[in-house]
Symmetry: D2
Subunit: 280 residues, 4 copies
């Protein structure tokens, strides 16, 4: 759906856009939905493949198509001088492309996309918190574990909604940043004493920060949200045993805001083209 929205957004900007392997829905605007890969890509200065690029090894991720396509047949239609972008490129696809003399750019590795996605992920987290708690975010005590991209933006937004925000980090520098933005600061691995204070705890660190002993210290009714990618930072088995309400939320951007998510990829594609000196 994100790819579909992306195609429409590019067409709205006045670009000539063709798609391949989108046949279950009708796209709006001037987008041309092709059924042959070569027809779709031949005139393109830039080809954008999905995120993730494969659904299972060797197969193009194409849920909006009735057909099944191998990455090999798609890659065979591409030419090295085209700008070729894809998201979360697996090793096999990268090797296959390499063997065909083609270089794929993984837009998911672009820092500006990661930052923009963090905005959407932070909002998705707030929506979840609103849905899963019987209290208002305003006046609630929230603990944000980790002060990376999502931690920074989520803290900012929670405060914007009137929550009391405590954020954690490991380095003195990040702790100084937390204070500079006006939140309470705690060291990530030194939160045990304060854990019983919070109404909501959100983990963004991909390490087991919230094990059983810490989960036991939580206030009754506290909501735990884990936004960290695998293996996650929360012991869900222990949470379930202890009756702690815990939610593991991945891929929030695409789910809660597919249009914004498509626009983020579009902007990143534009930046890539801009860097390569290709006029838009």
């Amino acid at each position: 759906m994100r790819q579909a929205k992306l195609a429409e957004l590019l067409a709205t900007d006045g670009h000539s856009v063709s798609t391949f392997a989108i046949d279950k829905i009708r796209l709006e605007g001037s987008v041309v939905q092709k059924t042959l890969i070569r027809e779709a890509v031949d005139d393109a200065a830039c080809v954008v493949m999905p995120l993730p690029v494969t659904s299972r090894e060797g197969m193009l991720n194409a849920p909006l198509s009735g057909g099944l396509y191998t990455t090999r047949e798609v890659l065979s239609a591409l030419r090295p001088e085209q700008v070729l972008c894809a998201g979360r490129i697996d090793e096999a696809t990268r090797e296959l492309a390499g063997s065909m003399g083609i270089t794929l750019i993984d837009y998911l590795e672009r820092e500006e996309l990661a930052v923009a996605n963090a905005v959407a992920a932070a909002e998705g987290a707030i929506q979840l918190i609103m849905e899963e708690t019987p209290i208002t975010v305003c006046h609630s005590n929230c603990l944000v574990i980790g002060f990376g991209r999502i931690g920074k933006i989520l803290s900012h937004r929670l405060r914007g909604l009137g929550a009391h925000v405590t954020a954690t980090a490991r380095s003195w520098a990040d702790l100084a940043w937390i204070k500079a933005y006006g939140y309470e600061a705690e060291e990530t691995y030194n939160i045990d004493a304060s854990l019983s204070r919070y109404d909501v705890v959100i983990n963004t660190v991909p390490a087991r920060v919230l094990g059983e002993s810490r989960l036991m210290k939580l206030r009754r009714g506290c909501l735990c949200l884990d936004l960290a990618s695998k293996p996650g930072g929360l012991d869900f088995t222990a949470a379930s045993k202890l009756g702690v309400k815990a939610v593991w939320a991945l891929s929030l951007p695409g789910e809660v805001a597919p249009v914004t998510s498509g626009a983020i990829i579009r902007d990143t594609i534009y930046n890539i083209l801009n860097e390569k000196g290709i006029a838009l």
Copy 2:
């Protein structure tokens, strides 16, 4: 459910609490659930009836009870020297109470409750916006029609989430307040020229501001939220005909945040007792 939470919250504060007509669920803490009205109210310094107090004329609003009770039998158990509170008291109940020498205080008419409820309603509106739009609130263009209690807080929160906020008012003074808080200001009945700019339009004015001619000016995909009490400010028939996505959201506080909602009534009850010189 709000009444149930209220009972638990009062008990948590150390008060001795009895309930009547709550028999479908078990309450926590030291709350005593009575089945006879006289037993429930006899020792009480203060009796709190539900919001709204009646479900239909003459009948106590008691969805958590298997029984049916008339307001008459409940009121008969009360004594004038007790502090008697209820929410959204209808004319018939007020007259009945008067004829029995009893004065009911409508906590819904308390300004501090209205303000605190507006906080919860504004959050409920934000949750709805997040659920109903495919874009992030951050960077979206939002129009808040009316700068009363909900308008003020909703504008503040939307801005805290990174939205571009335009708010409307009729008086020069309120327009000055809108600018003082850093939002764009428009006159409520002079929004036609800017209507096509918004991704989300939220009405808080209980007057037909959004009729067909204005709805036609909205950008495609714009979400309309009507938070105004009856008769509402949006022509839903026209919206449906024009394909405008429109949601009428009433009673948001109780739905999205029953615990906060219960706490708000508790605090208001405390204020009422405080004013009457009754120690807590």
Copy 3:
């Protein structure tokens, strides 16, 4: 100076502007500086007199002129059908105008001007706090006494700079508003217990809130700012005796931001003309 800036701002908007009794400085743009009152006002749809209108009884407040003019000679040149505005009109001037069949509109009594001025006054207060304290506003504990116009905006801005803000009010409703915006709330006449916590105390209430007994409770080094108009809310004699640093700041808007201040009067004049159906 405010009047001078106002004249320039009106000329910048394309209006034809004449001045009277401004002869010490040269104004910019198309402003015509007249030396005869009748020449200055004759073609005017609207005449704007200074704030305050008199320097001492019966005399026009005209510090930018070498001459001395009575209000009588100025008023004699005016016609009832012109829109006649002045600031802080004293009783004598109002009576004189009345006896001549002329109605003066006091723009200082307009609510929208008061709100806009509060924005400038709040900023002036922040500038003073920055200048008078050896600590940053960020992380400081600030008490704002009173939640009227200035209290509301000052609290908002202090929080925007990262201060911990406590605001006071007397009514439950205003206390609810304070909490709704995320500040700590205290009752205005019940602050004694917390007074030792603050680095800065700002009074906006025109009543003796900060007498000797309260000043004695302040933390050493605490800055006290009194923004209330006469008689003020702080006992300066006691403050001096106790070694409390206290500043009485009046007329902040005109002093710290004369251009903004002129623009505020201009906008208010426009609103007045608009209400009278006079096209700009």
Copy 4:
């Protein structure tokens, strides 16, 4: 003065504190002001030298002392097992210390100190803007050039005061951060088209961003603030020729907030001791 405040702050925390070369003023609390360097340092676990450590080559920076001391005589009194901190250590001092077997830690190079100083510098900049402009920060158009430490915090604070903030950066990632926080984003070397829009321009980039051709594009009356360390980013000669109001503001933290500034050094010293496993 910062060193003096630091000594008092450390004593307030319960530490045993001696000073050397502070004899012009009397310090408060339990601080002991020694006149012999050896007496001052002998019992110390940690010795803190000034910022900058030397006033001119080889001489201790000691403006609060009537005496003159060489760094050699001070360093001679120190022992390698003490934690030895100093600010902005010049090459000669570092070499001298090295030749004596002593390692000096430059606290100015600590990231957490730099972040905390940026908070104070940003506030100092805001104070300057308030003092130097005849308009309110609220509603003003501000351009912050560079999105490093000071740029980030200054943008946040200006927005907190109601300004319209545009920030610049060179990388796509930083531009994404600027948008994530809700400011307008421009590329640092691509600001020419928008320059005429701003009331205030603040440079934080240590490169000649504001040369004559750009200064010419500024709106009349625009205030330029240069916060970049030498060589600065603004052509002051051109500014003067063009009549552009330009201020070069260095060392803001120490000037505008000496107590906060002392506290920042204290906290950094604590962090250094903590890392070395020395109990406080």
